[in-house]
Every structure is written in structure tokens, then in C-alpha cells.
């Protein structure tokens, strides 16, 4: 079908692009071997300069996600450079806008790695686009770290990836535990049919069933769908105790609004997308009482200091995405300092040694997959468009 062929075309495009760049690299000859002799003196040669590329949406529908991360990264860069940079030279960050479009993400990735010579790429923002650039990063030997992509599927996608946000497998488990603790035995899952939504749907179904719950049915919609009535009509007929709704803000707002119009009485249990004010802007009071999971942030000395400086610099409170962007560059700079080198292999080895790093987005320890296992989640509830804490700091026990 259309979507399948588009994907295939994109895949072919990615293949062609990477083939071209591989050919170009081959023609130019292998890069000269890094200076490994460790001659005494200043290590500020060009090979030790840390160049980081950011690949994410800075304009378009998802611009707010990218701009928050960029703000956080800018703060981290200024701090690192004010303290002498890495290896004696300042860290450079180049930003490329993708508008959250998969083809543009591939172009942006190639631009920052080929033209700007970045050895580290921060991105993408969506799990689907991260999956699109992941194989390219692997082939080019570039270190890929996504500050906020969180799909459970990314852990097993087959390319190396570091993440600051915990995998959705964890928030799905906490959501399932919460539902079971409320005595809710039956659910229907209404999800966005993309990398992120299907990852949460599958992880939640597995954990909910394992805890004795019953999944009566699931139904997906395309991203940015504006008519969710058909799916809601199906779900209504199943009469679930609650509806698990891993949807992006645009669809989630419409779904909750139209569910009220259809007279659906089941409660909604959401994922981290519900922290976006868009949902209440669309659905108004229909969102009252919706409970959702959210990576815990806003605690600890590291966060307090970050929030204070963010407020001073950008004249607004930081969100999780800004904190994740900030931590992303900080852990990479710390790894580069430990390794004394800035090539992707050395950085990856050093990054994996990150243990209990107290960042603005929480504590960071990477497992062998590059997933963080040291973070906690909050359960929050929406009321009048505001989120209140139901239960804070639920540790993920992997």
C-alpha cells in the first residue's frame, strides 16, 4: 500500500544516500590515523576538537520539542566552554532542522557528519526518525545519542544508540502496575501507529497481561489523525474498565474530546505526551482526571541549578526535553574528557562507564544497550489543564 511503498522508497533513498557517501569516503581515501603517540604538549589539535551535530525539528509542528532541547544544549555548551572546553578547545555544536521529516532527518544527518565533521550526533526527536538515521550512524562510525526518543523498540533495533530518556518499556510497566493497583482488570488500547505508539502498546499489553489484566482489543490511528470516532466506536463496544492511550498530543486531545462526545465513560491512562499543554487546549475539561506516566524531573541540586540558569537565560521554566538536551551534551563532554579523545569508538566506551551521573533530568547510568536504567517515573493527574503529582519517583527496577 501507499505507506509501505513510501517507506520502501525512503529506505532505498537512505540506501542510495549512504552508498553515495560511502563511495565518496572511499574516493577521498581513509581518514588519516589519529595521533596516538601521546606526544607531550597541548592536545588542542583539530583531532581532539569535539564537534557535535544536533539533528531535530526546529521549525514545523514539532518545533517546540527541538527548541527545548536546543536551549538545553546551548546552556551545556556555554558552561563547558566557559570551563575550558574539552581537551583545551571549545566544543562546537551545529544544528540542523529536520521538521521531524524522515527524509530531511537523513539529509541533516549527512550534512552534520560529512560537511561539519561531527563525530557525535544528538537526535532525532522521534523514535521513527532515530530508527531512520541509526543505521547511517553505525555505518559512518558516528556516535548517536538521542536525548528524548524513547520507543521500547529502539533497544532492539540493531544499531548502537545512547539515550537520556528511559525506554518506554519502563513507563509502560509503571502504567500497568498502576492500573492493576487500582483494580482495573480490562483495557482497550488506543495508540498512534508509529514507532513510539506501537512500542508502548506492546510493552503495556505484555506487562498488563502478566499482572492478570485482560486486553479486550487495540486500535491504532495514523499520526495527526483528526477523526478518531471510528476507533472510539469500536472501543466503546468493548466496554473496558479503562483505555490506555499512548498517543501524541494532537491525536490524544482529539481522542479525549470525541470520547466525551460519544459518551464513553471509561477512564484514560496516558503516557508522557500528556505533559504537553496541547491536549488540554484541544479537549478542555474532558481531560480532567486523566492519569499519565512521566519521566521524573524537577528534583535534586543539579536540576535546581539548571532550572535557575535556564530561567535567567530563556525567561521561562525548563521542561524535561530541555533538561535531557542539557544532560546529553554534558555526559558526552565528560566522556570525552575521560577518554582524552573525541572519536566515536573512544567516546562510546567512555560513555558506557557513566555511572550515577547526577544530571538535570535525573540520575544517568547506561546499560550495555545504551539505555538509562537509573531513572524514575512520576504518575501525574490532569486537572483544569494542570498536572498534579499522584505518586512521585517510582524507580524502574530493571
Amino acid at each position: 500500500m501507499l505507506i509501505g511503498s513510501q517507506k520502501r522508497r525512503r529506505f532505498h533513498l537512505a540506501l542510495a544516500l549512504s552508498a553515495c557517501s560511502a563511495l565518496a569516503l572511499g574516493l577521498m581515501g581513509c581518514p588519516p590515523p589519529a595521533n596516538q603517540s601521546g606526544i607531550s604538549g597541548s592536545p588542542s589539535g583539530p583531532s581532539t576538537t569535539l564537534i557535535v551535530g544536533f539533528v531535530g525539528p526546529l521549525t514545523g509542528d514539532a518545533a517546540s520539542f527541538g527548541i527545548s532541547q536546543k536551549n538545553g544544549i546551548e546552556m551545556a555548551r556555554d558552561e563547558i566552554n566557559a570551563a575550558g572546553g574539552v581537551g583545551g578547545s571549545p566544543v562546537t555544536v551545529v544544528y540542523e532542522d529536520t521538521q521531524l521529516d524522515q527524509n530531511k532527518a537523513i539529509t541533516a544527518f549527512n550534512k552534520v557528519t560529512d560537511s561539519d565533521k561531527a563525530t557525535v550526533v544528538l537526535g532525532e526527536t522521534s523514535s521513527a526518525n532515530t530508527k531512520a538515521i541509526g543505521p547511517l550512524a553505525q555505518r559512518k562510525g558516528v556516535l548517536l545519542l538521542s536525548p528524548i526518543a524513547s520507543s521500547a523498540n529502539l533497544t532492539t533495533s540493531g544499531f548502537p544508540l545512547f539515550r537520556i530518556s528511559p525506554s518506554d518499556a519502563f513507563q509502560a510497566r509503571i502504567a500497568a502496575q498502576y492500573a492493576l493497583s487500582r483494580g482495573w482488570k480490562t483495557t482497550a488500547i488506543l495508540y498512534t501507529n508509529d514507532e513510539w505508539g506501537t512500542g508502548l502498546k506492546d510493552a503495556f499489553a505484555t506487562d498488563f497481561k502478566a499482572g492478570g489484566g485482560q486486553v479486550l482489543g487495540d486500535t491504532g490511528v495514523e499520526p495527526k489523525a483528526q477523526d478518531i470516532r471510528p476507533s472510539l466506536t469500536k472501543i466503546k463496544s468493548l466496554k473496558p474498565a479503562f483505555i490506555y492511550i499512548p498517543m501524541h498530543p494532537d491525536e490524544a486531545g482529539v481522542a479525549i474530546k470525541q470520547a466525551k462526545q460519544l459518551g464513553i465513560a471509561s477512564s484514560f491512562l496516558g503516557a508522557d505526551s500528556f505533559s504537553e499543554p496541547t491536549i488540554a487546549k484541544i479537549a478542555g475539561s474532558a481531560t480532567d482526571g486523566v492519569v499519565y506516566t512521566m519521566p521524573a524531573s524537577g528534583f535534586g541540586a543539579a536540576y535546581d541549578q539548571f532550572a535557575k540558569q535556564y530561567q535567567a537565560k530563556f525567561n521561562g521554566a525548563p521542561n524535561y526535553n530541555a533538561a535531557a538536551g542539557y544532560d546529553a551534551l554534558k555526559v558526552i563532554a565528560a566522556a570525552a574528557k575521560r577518554a582524552g579523545k573525541t572519536d566515536a569508538t573512544a567516546l562510546a566506551t567512555a560513555l558506557k562507564q557513566t555511572k550515577n551521573y547526577e544530571g538535570a533530568s535525573g540520575s544517568i547510568t547506561f546499560d550495555t544497550n545504551g539505555d538509562v536504567t537509573s531513572k524514575a517515573f512520576d504518575l501525574k493527574k490532569l486537572q483544569n489543564g494542570q498536572s498534579t503529582l499522584v505518586q512521585g519517583h517510582i524507580a524502574i527496577n530493571k
Partner: protein, 290 residues
């Protein structure tokens, strides 16, 4: 469940009909697909929101302002994007030009109102109403009744009004129409304005029932466009039939299969139908004049 699914399909069909008629009218007189048509919907919806939020206008004047804005933007598209490009005699240039207009409108709305999705304040219009096995809302009923009445008025206009007859004459044979004294660009303006009015109303219906954002015209426009092609582009009756078919396919596949592959089902229907009836459900633009 089946009654609800059928009802959802009819309401969605009535909405798509408003959009599809715009495509088909413009195609009839100007021989082009207006790719900015979906964005005219968006302009209508945002005008309504803006008037209610910024100027605290009651719904009725805000609605009128939105209709005026829809007609105005459609006329501007005709004047600034279509006509200059069409003057050189190239069939493709004006079509590409409308794609440009679409980009400008989306970017402009993004700058003015932000990229985040919003909603028109619906109040009591969105409370559930129970009609036997069917749940609906006043907003949905207005879409259904309003859409049908508007469609009927348009049909009567095309049939009996002098300008309506002129639209059909230009659609049938622009050269002949010109020789009997009909100015094709004047008629094109009327068709664009009418399509703008219907698009603005469709945009408001979506903003009430669902949400609005600068890129909302993209997917809705494609549904309307598909409906117009399904029905036989240039044929208003065909556009309505096509819209009902697309509405039904969306609702039934979404309820009984999955909405996840909605564009696949809709375009699959289009591909299948065009395989057996390349001209669409009804004959194309020639039939407008019969």
C-alpha cells in the same frame, strides 16, 4: 455499533462533500486542482477562533467573518497565484503555483498562531445527544444539516441562477462561453469564492468537532480531493457521491478494521474504482453542463 459507524460515515461524508465540491467547481471552470484548497479551510477555522478569542465576538459574527475570510483568501489565490501563472498558457504552472500558495498559508498561520493544535470553543454544541442507538452532538448535526442544505443551495444555484449557468457553460466549453459574452475569469472568481465559503464552513466544523492547526488542510484536503476524483472531477453530483463513499470507507474500516492504515484504505478504494471506471463514479466535467 453498526448504526453508529454508518452515522459517523454520513456525517464525515457531508463534511468531505463541502470540500470536494470546492475542488470540483474550481476544476470545472479553471481546469486545475487547487492544492491550497485545504488551507482555505484552515484560514476559515483560524479566523473564527481569532475573532472569538481576540475580539470576543459571539459565534454568529465570528462565523460570518470566517466565511468572508474563506471567500477572500480563495479570491486572492485565484488573483495572485492562479491567474498570473495561467496567463502564459501553461497548464501545469497554475497548479504548482497553488502548491506555493499552500506553503505560504501554512507558514503564515504557523507564524501568527503557533504550530500547536487548538480547538474552537464548542460548549453545549459538543454535549452528547442520544438518538436511539446513535450518539451525536449539535456540532455534528449542524455539519450534517448545514452541509446538506448548502449542497442543495449550490445545486439550485448551478441549475437556475444566471451565474450558476455561466459556471456550467464555462466548464463545458470555455471558448464558446467567451464568444457568447461570458468572461471566464469573472466566472472563475465566482467559483473560487464559492469554494472558499464552503471550505471555511468545513474548517469550522472540523475545528469544533476535532481540532485545528496550521497543517490541518493537508489531510482533509486530500480526502476531499480523493472524493472529487472518485466522483468524476468536475461533476458536483459525483463529488457528493464520492464524499459519501470516502466517509463510509473511513468510518467502516476504522471501526471494524483499523484507522491506522486509513489513507491506504481510502486510496485503495480510489485505485480499485479507477481501475474499472477511469472516469470516476459519474462522467467528468462535461456532465456539468447537461
Amino acid at each position: 455499533m453498526i448504526w453508529q459507524a454508518l452515522y459517523n460515515g454520513v456525517v464525515t461524508g457531508a463534511l468531505y462533500a463541502l470540500v470536494a465540491l470546492g475542488y470540483t467547481l474550481i476544476y470545472g471552470v479553471a481546469r486545475l486542482i487547487n492544492f491550497a484548497h485545504g488551507d482555505v479551510m484552515m484560514v476559515g477555522a483560524y479566523t473564527c477562533l481569532f475573532c472569538m478569542e481576540r475580539f470576543h465576538l459571539p459565534p454568529a459574527p465570528a462565523l460570518l467573518a470566517a466565511i468572508a475570510a474563506g471567500a477572500l483568501i480563495a479570491l486572492l489565490i485565484e488573483r495572485l497565484a492562479v491567474r498570473p501563472a495561467a496567463r502564459k498558457g501553461d497548464r501545469l504552472a497554475p497548479v504548482i503555483s497553488t502548491i506555493g500558495a499552500s506553503v505560504v498559508l501554512q507558514a503564515g498561520a504557523g507564524l501568527l498562531f503557533g504550530a500547536a493544535a487548538r480547538s474552537l470553543p464548542g460548549g453545549k454544541l459538543l454535549d452528547p445527544i442520544y438518538l436511539g442507538p446513535i450518539q451525536t452532538t449539535l456540532a455534528q448535526l449542524s455539519t450534517l444539516v448545514g452541509g446538506s442544505v448548502l449542497t442543495l443551495v449550490l445545486a439550485l444555484f448551478l441549475k437556475f441562477h444566471l451565474y450558476g449557468q455561466a459556471i456550467r457553460a464555462v466548464a463545458d466549453d470555455p471558448t464558446l462561453a467567451e464568444t457568447v459574452g461570458i468572461a471566464p475569469h469573472r466566472i472563475a472568481q465566482i467559483a473560487f469564492a464559492l469554494s472558499g465559503i464552503m471550505a471555511a464552513l468545513a474548517g469550522i466544523a472540523v475545528g469544533l468537532d476535532s481540532s485545528l492547526r496550521p497543517t490541518m488542510g493537508y489531510s482533509l484536503g486530500f480526502m476531499g480531493f480523493t472524493a472529487a476524483v472518485l466522483g468524476g472531477i468536475g461533476n458536483p453530483t459525483g463529488a457528493i457521491l464520492g464524499a459519501m463513499l470516502v466517509g463510509m470507507v473511513s468510518s467502516l474500516t476504522g471501526t471494524y478494521l483499523s484507522s491506522a492504515w486509513l489513507p491506504g484504505y481510502v486510496f485503495g478504494t480510489l485505485a480499485l474504482l479507477l481501475l474499472f471506471r477511469p472516469q470516476g463514479l459519474l462522467p467528468g466535467r462535461k456532465a456539468v453542463a447537461t
